[in-house]
Symmetry: C3
Subunit: 343 residues, 3 copies
């Protein structure tokens, strides 16, 4: 039995298979600071213990996407080390807040398998869950990845494609807050739930150029071991000739950029769906724009359903959407999520 | 009303105007570690809880310039997003130490306005203050910036230029210390107050090359949103063709380099004045030298008034001063400050 | 007396000389997070407070090599600022674990001196020790460096070359653990002491490309002031034309890569010897492989004696060893150490 992990191939997955992922990870003040340094995020709840306490959190919670990226990272060695592509996300719910000192671990279940018609690859669907040290679930999400077969001649399993909700059910993940204490001067914007209209489009204006050192630091912080992000020696002979930037880095950048326009959208309650439409490489500048696609009320807070698109080397003045030209400047990410905002 | 912040123009400021800045920020152990990693600072008080406690601090305080950069960063979206230049600093006093877990917020008052003769820009003078979660002031400083007018035809306000002290009054910011417990072996130098003479010049010897990833990480850590530091896509068509490095990054580098020669100058009590004489870009190597320009005694400690000059791609063997040639290697920063040192 | 430190030359060292190094340093959660971001280490004991507590640690200890690099960094201004080469390490023992909040300081004793036959340089042998705030030793190691003479004409001291053990005595540094609580699913591998055979070779598969910003951040985090790592302006006229990457950065990278194959080798108890065989520069991709060279039992745990070799731009499929061609892709590090692993 080999001592090293070379990753699972399509044949290694079976429907209903349950996987416990290594390595448990205690998140702390250092992770919070690094997350700020990597993305420049300014949402007040995640930035200030005092602001968070005023509205009912015991202390400032970790950024939702730091939690997402940490749990995602744990699943990589078992799920996607041999993945050709991360095809999509669905049914992602942030079930409980994570605080400094909490230890996260992750497990997954295979919920779908479908070999591709070329006989060389297949799609694996997994539901992954992150838990804290008390066994409480903090995050649950489905993702599906295209994985190579070890042997093209091996028989295809019965195709099972899970039915996935188009909209994440976010009720389980709603924090109980004393939202009347929200300080709109400190939070950076006067705009609340009622100020946003379905169909409204917001160009987040700012752009951020990504360096190799930055995405590598981030991806290692998440203990994500996918090789395409780190090994220029190998990648220079590969499809892109360069290291590919981890998609979660793009999601975190887009969310941080969205502060300018969505400053009070303080918590990602759930992600309905997400797609990495085109790759990002170091030297590319990321812009973002958002569209409000739905609104619902949850007690004291409102939830905005938002589609945020990130672009590469393309300002978002004209609200660009995917046009299928991955080689040109254009959209690289579409993320459909629920964000909570004071009413 | 636009959801996004595009920054204030000269016409948007009025004399006496008070501004509450977003976003409050809790500083912690992670910020301390990142600050060390970004600048390699080695001052013992800020590096060691034990050293700090021995001389009377409750624990190791945050580096003064981490506090400065954090408060400064908060003022950017309101004050200098459309600034053409940071013209100067004055009357900067560090009023109370900041510790891990403290939450900083910032506010400013407009204390001067003067339109430039070209009718296109004006100078805005603001006094900014940082406070901790108990409402105690931790930092106060004046800065003035050249800001674009929105409309060249708009009328000029009455010109008001504040009278600013040439020397910061640092008494309010003096910590009470048991300085006899200072350990000169651990601090890295035997040199104390009496060993420094007015007029003495010190070449700090070492040079530090700055990478894009480093200044971007730093500037985001401070939640400073000034676009010129982050967006290569926009800057490649701009005046410098490159991203401009945040001036506070240069100040922090110069201070860290000054350890070699000023190892016991443990606390910046105040900044009398500062000017960013020329820009710095990634790939540039920063050197520094200092001149002792005054000395005063404050109880157990002495205060050295120091002018530290940072240079770009120019060793400081010959103690270079500004010669007005921003395109060549040369001085990029002049910083005139009070540093405390054991007597 | 000059205020600045230009480093000691060969003549400045005397046999039996004792040196107290500056600057004491409190390690915290931020250092832990940065270490993870810099190397992507995934060993469960250092990653998770819960995992560490389950087997008997009071909380997750700091990575052994973060401790090593921190103590090493302190010795640089006194020992190796004028070093031409770090020649080797021996008798390195990790005597006590280090936890978040501990403050480390360092001191050294000169245990050997030998002028080289060219009369221009000499080798200095020092034993360095790191202590925590309670005065307990956390680390002890010998290293020897080639240092320039200030004056080629100065007389050579009597040559004293210490006798150094080929194998570090690790008993003093053994933690008492409740190793039956080890969770092999969470740790990332089922392989324990008995699964490894003397003579076994493991290619760790993965490669990691190093950026300038990364090694500079790391080396500053360790407060290591060796100029060759930071100053491109000076180095462009030097032997390598580029900044040289700190050897401890390579050791930490190799150890992190070795997780894939040695996931349960949770603690470096001691380093028997180490050599930096060839330099590493930014842009280089680091690979690693390990050979099991000995095994011993220490109560509940086993100790594997491992030689890990790191390479530059050379995958380790064929288990390369040094071939003396520093200019080509090849081995850059040989590290001979004891790692503890559950039986």
């Amino acid at each position: 039995m080999s001592k090293t992990v070379a990753g699972n191939f399509f044949e290694d997955f079976s429907l209903g298979q349950k996987i416990v992922h290594a390595t448990p990870r205690t998140l702390g003040d250092g992770d919070r600071a690094l997350y700020t340094a990597l993305y420049g995020s300014r949402f007040a709840v995640q930035s200030s213990d005092e602001f968070a306490k005023a509205i009912g959190y015991p202390t400032s919670p970790m950024d939702d996407l730091l939690v997402f990226n940490t749990v995602f990272g744990k699943t990589v060695p078992d799920i996607s080390l041999n993945a050709i592509a991360n095809l999509g996300y669905a049914e992602c719910v942030f079930t409980n807040p994570v605080y400094s000192g909490d230890t996260l671990s992750a497990r997954s279940e295979v919920i779908g398998l479908k070999e591709n018609s070329n006989g060389k690859t297949g799609t694996v669907y997994v539901r992954s869950k992150g838990n804290n040290q008390r066994g409480e679930e903090v995050l649950s999400f489905v993702r599906w990845v295209m994985v190579r077969k070890r042997d093209e001649k091996s028989a295809a399993p019965a195709a099972v494609v899970p039915e996935l909700s188009k909209v994440a059910s976010i009720k389980a993940g709603m924090p109980r807050l004393n939202i009347v204490k929200w300080d709109f001067a400190q939070s950076g914007s006067p705009h609340r739930f009622d100020d946003y209209a379905v169909g409204e489009k917001i160009d987040h204006l700012d752009g951020m150029t990504v360096e190799e050192a930055e995405h590598q630091l981030a991806t290692r912080l998440y203990q994500n071991t996918a090789r395409v992000h780190f090994n220029q020696f190998a990648e220079q002979g590969g499809r892109f000739v360069r290291r590919l930037i981890y998609g979660g880095h793009v999601i975190s950048l887009a969310r941080a950029l969205s502060f300018n326009g969505l400053a009070n959208a303080f918590h990602i309650a759930g992600i309905n769906g997400g797609r990495h439409v085109a790759p990002l490489f170091a030297g590319g500048s990321v812009f973002a724009w958002s569209e409000i696609v739905d609104k619902t009320v949850h007690g004291d807070v409102g939830a905005l359903r938002i589609t945020t698109r990130a672009t590469r080397d393309l300002p978002c003045t004209d609200y660009p959407i995917e046009d299928g030209t991955a080689e040109k400047p254009g959209v690289i990410l579409e993320l459909d999520y629920w964000a909570l905002i004071p009413r």
